[in-house]
């Protein structure tokens, strides 16, 4: 059982008072170029997840509080929540450093794509 504190309204509650929205920072490929999306890209978007052992980034909703979405950084081994950040924000550098290298690669790839 997780005890979560909503960073938006400050309410503390247990897991069932919140709703987990799954892995964070997933970009929908079709928003950029709907016709040119390969089956593989669509498959990856819908089904492929990082599932790291350790520090992970997730979306959560304050279901029984303010109703707002936010990001949480959680250790999948210890279940410890290491921090929160805004729903429109990228993870703080201190948390990203602790995360699995595949997260670092994820943001680097996103940045590269945005530049091209």
């Amino acid at each position: 059982m997780l005890v979560i504190t909503c960073p938006v309204c400050g309410v503390e509650g247990e897991e069932a008072d919140f709703h987990c929205g799954g892995e964070a920072h997933i970009t929908r490929p079709a928003t950029e170029n709907p016709e040119g999306i390969s089956d593989e890209a669509q498959r990856d978007y819908i089904y492929m997840r990082k599932n790291p052992k350790g520090v992970h980034f997730e979306r959560w909703r304050c279901d029984r509080g303010c109703g707002k979405w936010f990001h949480a950084c959680r250790d999948t081994v210890s279940m410890e929540i290491l921090g929160y950040y805004g729903i429109t924000q990228k993870p703080p550098a201190t948390l990203l450093k602790k995360a699995d290298p595949l997260w670092q690669a994820h943001f680097e790839a996103q940045l590269k794509k945005a530049k091209s």
């Binding site: 938006v8 309204c9 400050g10 309410v11 509650g13 247990e14 069932a16 008072d17 279901d63 029984r64 509080g65 303010c66 109703g67 707002k68």
Partner: protein, 204 residues
């Protein structure tokens, strides 16, 4: 014009005699859902002018002006609870004041059902259905708390203390479920009694 006939969701329910608390449906309230941005001064000023009181921005609090209540629902949402007969006029006043301002005010009087719970066992009864510890501080009169209660979305408004009076608000379609839940968990003899200090064990 003939008077509108208002049928409340729990009007056919009788209050059982064997309860450790008292429970009644509040039937004469109208409710307005109000949304807007607290950082927008124009919105806050217009709402205050129409409601006669500033919207509470502190989470889980409320503000009162006579018989009208402004309950904090979210960082950009409030529930205005007022006498049913005055709802249409108040909504009109709000909409006029908020004209041209990014906001929303809608009559939601029939969306929710209000069950008033009264008595020393109210906190204990609510705790049987939620994850919230009502014995800790932070539940003084005026407090508003949204929660998962008996597996459904609900909200309580602390009306007063000693004796405790809590208004339990649930969506209309869940009204009977909430009523049944309270009926079952507040029956006389089902008291947990942990709110009173335990008696010291006898010294042997």
């Amino acid at each position: 014009m003939s008077e509108a006939l208002i049928i409340t969701p729990l009007c056919d329910r009788e209050v059982p005699a064997n309860l450790a608390i008292s429970m009644t449906e509040i039937v004469d309230r109208g409710m307005i859902d109000l949304r807007g941005l607290p950082k927008d001064k124009k919105f806050m000023d217009a709402a205050k002018a129409a409601l006669g009181v500033a919207l509470p921005t502190e989470p889980r609090t409320s503000a009162q002006n006579g018989e009208s209540l402004c309950l904090w629902m979210s960082v950009d949402q409030w529930l205005i609870v007022c006498p049913r007969k005055e709802t249409a006029a108040l909504l009109d006043k709000l909409n006029k004041a908020l004209e041209g301002i990014f906001s929303l005010a809608v009559d939601m009087s029939d969306a929710r059902s209000i069950i008033r719970l009264k008595g020393d066992r109210v906190r204990e009864t609510l705790m049987k259905g939620s994850s919230i510890d009502f014995t800790q501080g932070g539940f003084e009169p005026g407090t508003v708390r949204r929660m998962l209660f008996g597996e459904i979305a609900a909200m309580v408004h602390v009306v007063s203390e000693e004796p405790d009076v809590f208004d339990l608000m649930v969506f209309r379609s869940y009204a009977h479920h909430a009523w049944d839940w309270v009926e079952a968990t507040a029956t006389k003899g089902s008291e947990v009694g942990f709110l009173k200090p335990a008696e010291a064990p006898a010294v042997v």
